[in-house]
Amino acid sequence: MIYQGKQKIWADYQKEIPDDHWYYVRSCIRQNFFPGSEKMFLEICRNVLGKDFHENASHTTCGGIAYHCDTIPQETVMTIVARQFALMTEAGYENYVASCITSFGNYIEILQTWEEFPELETKIRELLWKACKREFKKPKYVAHASDLIYKYRNLIAERAKYRLINRHTGEPLKVVEHIGCHYSKMFPSKGVGGAEYPYVLCGMIEAWGGNVIDYPERRHCCGYGFRQYHVKANRGYSISNTHKKFESMEPYHPDMIITNCPGCPYFLDRWQYAIAEMEGKTYGENGYGIPVFTYEEVAGLVLGYDPWDLGLQLHQVAVEPLLDKIGVEYDPARKYEGLNHKNLLRPELPGVLKCC
């Protein structure tokens, strides 16, 4: 591997990301899967770094899941997106940041389509007006939330309590970065680092002290694939692809996986349990799995937030071995204690995959 070669490509794919004043839209599913992530994003941007991030409770889904599941037509998804833009315009923002990778891809795809087919844009404006009497301006900048964390990575590193370093050996942690397919595979120029060697997560990992692993199936999909998971008959295909990724990264013995997509961490995390049950195989050390994180969770961890406040107890793969490696302080007894100090109850432990 020639690192300079990658740097050269990264240099070709730098995108302009304004520093402040963003209109933030959430993901449909992340709040259920990784509830601490979006909260942590706003916490870091607003409170730690003091930036202006606006949010509107009336924003909806972008329609991406339905679009990629082939259940709604393009005009519908475009009108939904147009309404989101209208909300942004009404709030007086022109920088639009999405929490979800599929949303991000969806916005980019729609904006590019309108550029190629302006008549479609006109039509959507009419449809939006007919539907809810709203008008919109197209955002000046569209970013994914990971772009911003990437942009703030050094600021975060300056304030970091922990680094991605194994405190027993002093070695950097071996980190697998997994980029959501819709981030830059459709429009390479819209992602930091392009499509083949995206830099957005690599940059964070490097800034926070970890070591990026480049393994053969790095580019491969997490296995979600919308229709592949949602249609049960296809679900074997979904898990087969996840399995392929783990088989490929296994020889590198990664300490953790960082992702920037709502679906990826979910499937990389939960399918490890299913694979363990089916094949009797686990990929982490001592029968554990490889812990999977969102980039916000990792940012929160290095900044010293309590792992249980980050919602890490909702992960399938136990995070404790990794927390121990980094040296993050945590109270095992508080793991299943809710914010209101109510007991969340301990989940049943799986048979093969070792969990805490």
Binding site: M1, G5, A195, E196, Y215
Partner: protein, 339 residues
């Protein structure tokens, strides 16, 4: 006084045209931007289909054109149109007045790093056809181990027939070059397993098909019809190459020690700039536009300007030489017929 003819480019087309024009009694002036004559062919080792050394051809051409005025490391700075001629200002400060210009500006090899998925410049064992020829010539390249690669691959059509790489045209020579290089590698390393990943095999020229059969039968080179989709590195630092074997409709994966990218022929950006100085049109494929693509391939739409070789599109060596001779004759007739 002998008629001045300015030849832009000192590759094989420029040299051959100069040699012919000398014989016809003119005064050819070659302007070459690099520090050597012979262009891409001078960097090549052996030429298909007879495996003749490229050096022999280039030195023969140089010898035949030695009486021409040759300016190396020189470019055209600007051009003034006079009444019936041009005043050409060169980067070395010399100005030339000529009534006739011959473009023999050749081509540029596609920058393989633009095909990011192949990892040229990123992975240690990815090289181009030109790098391999350089190794044939010098024997120096860290990417090729002394004992030879156990398995290696050739990727055809890198930057050719690729709309996204903005080169929809076929580069014509890569198929046969890949076969030639594969045979040469097999001759050097008989134990190596060699794969050629191709989209189509365009074996149009004299003896090309024989070459191909020999590669299959005598050298056991394995041809896989399918474009390489991505290249990655495994934990041992070997290349993992993925492609679809379109003939069986199945994806294939193979671990290789060396991957050679057959960079295609693309138009020379410098040529376009010079053409701009003379308001010459560029064809839709990015190469110079001839007066007619069938009957007048060597003539520009403007009087007194001629083309030879790959400045008008991908060509093989014999085609280029034939075109250079043809252009020289066109120039001769043009002068005889009183312009």
């Amino acid at each position: 006084m002998k008629e001045n003819i300015l030849i832009i480019g000192g590759g094989i087309a420029g040299l051959e045209a100069a040699g012919q024009l000398l014989k016809l009694g003119y005064n050819p002036i070659i302007v070459e931007k690099s520090d050597h004559l012979g262009g891409h062919v001078a960097d090549w080792n052996r030429l298909f289909p007879d495996m003749s050394p490229a050096e022999d051809l280039v030195s023969r051409l140089i010898a035949a054109s030695s009486e021409a005025n040759i300016f190396l490391n020189t470019e055209i700075s600007f051009v003034n149109r006079l009444k019936d001629s041009w005043n050409i200002m060169l980067s070395n400060g010399i100005s030339i007045i000529t009534r006739i210009l011959l473009f023999a500006t050749g081509f540029t090899l596609f920058d393989a790093s633009k095909k990011e998925e192949y990892g040229y410049g990123v992975y240690n064992q990815v090289m181009t056809n030109s790098d391999l020829e350089h190794w044939f010539n010098t024997g120096q390249d860290e990417r090729i181990p002394e004992e030879g690669p156990a398995a290696m691959g050739f990727v055809h059509c890198v930057g050719s027939r690729d709309e996204k790489a903005r080169n929809p045209q076929c580069s014509k020579v890569c198929c046969i070059t890949a076969v030639k290089q594969a045979i040469e590698m097999k001759q050097k390393f008989p134990e190596a397993m060699i794969y050629c990943f191709y989209m189509d095999l365009r074996m149009f020229g004299k003896k090309y098909e024989d070459f191909y059969i020999s590669a299959q039968k005598d050298y056991g080179i394995r041809f896989i019809r399918g474009r390489v989709s991505e290249v990655s590195e495994n934990i041992e630092g070997k290349l993992v190459v993925k492609a679809e074997d379109t003939l069986s409709g199945k994806p294939v994966k193979v671990t290789l020690d060396l991957l050679v990218l057959m960079s295609g022929i693309v138009c020379n950006q410098q040529t376009c700039k010079t053409a701009g100085l003379l308001s010459l049109p560029i064809d839709s494929d990015g190469f110079l536009k001839s007066r007619d693509n069938i009957a007048d391939i060597t003539e520009a739409p403007r009087e007194g300007i001629f083309y030879a070789g790959t400045c008008t599109g991908p060509k093989t060596v014999p085609e280029t030489l034939a075109e250079a001779r043809s252009a020289a004759l066109e120039i001769h007739n043009y002068i005889l017929n009183g312009m």
